[in-house]
């Protein structure tokens, strides 16, 4: 697998399916005029898509394709050299912290936008009642 930009390996193919599920989820959530219906449809697709996660995890054990088996396991010592293992762990922690920060920032913006919609609606209702 290494040295080729793409092969139809079990791990890579199952991750590609996950990527398409993400794209489908984004498209589905935005496909409805009614936001709540979009969120519900997206949630159902997410529940169906969760099936893909164990397939990704165990793909390297179930199918003997080009990807090597897991290098880090709960039961045994890692089969990776420490020179690769530590940068991998630090990168994984950094990536997850960055992801969490992005989610919090987007949530903050979404909460404020919701508050704006609420204020605008309240203002419009008050104007209607006064008219």
């Amino acid at each position: 697998m290494w040295g080729a930009w793409w092969v139809w390996d079990a791990r890579m193919t199952s991750v590609l399916v996950l990527f398409f599920l993400y794209l489908g989820h984004i498209a589905l959530v935005r496909a409805f005029d009614d936001q709540q219906r979009g969120y519900r449809a997206g949630a159902i697709l997410a529940l169906v898509g969760v099936v893909n996660l164990p397939i990704i995890k165990f793909s390297v054990e179930w199918w003997n394709t080009l990807h090597q088996a897991a290098s880090i396991t709960m039961s045994g010592a890692p089969s990776m050299a420490p020179a690769l293992l530590w940068p991998l762990l630090v990168s994984a922690i950094g990536f997850n912290l960055g992801f969490a920060a992005l989610v919090v920032a987007r949530l903050r913006a979404a909460v404020m936008e919701r508050r704006i919609r609420g204020l605008l609606l309240a203002r419009a209702q008050a104007e209607l009642q006064n008219a």
């Binding site: 992005l102 987007r106 903050r108 913006a109 404020m112 508050r115």
Partner: protein, 51 residues
Amino acid sequence: MNHLPYIVAAYALTFVVTASFAIQAWLRTAQATRRLAELDPRVSVRPGVAK
């Protein structure tokens, strides 16, 4: 075989996508902050400042 173009492209794509998400979130927050301040001046909406 030279992998450098692939490695550079992968790092560049990751950086561009992550930076665009961060900038988008920052712009949305800044716009919402301004709009909230216009709609309700009583509400403290300065980014990073608790009410």
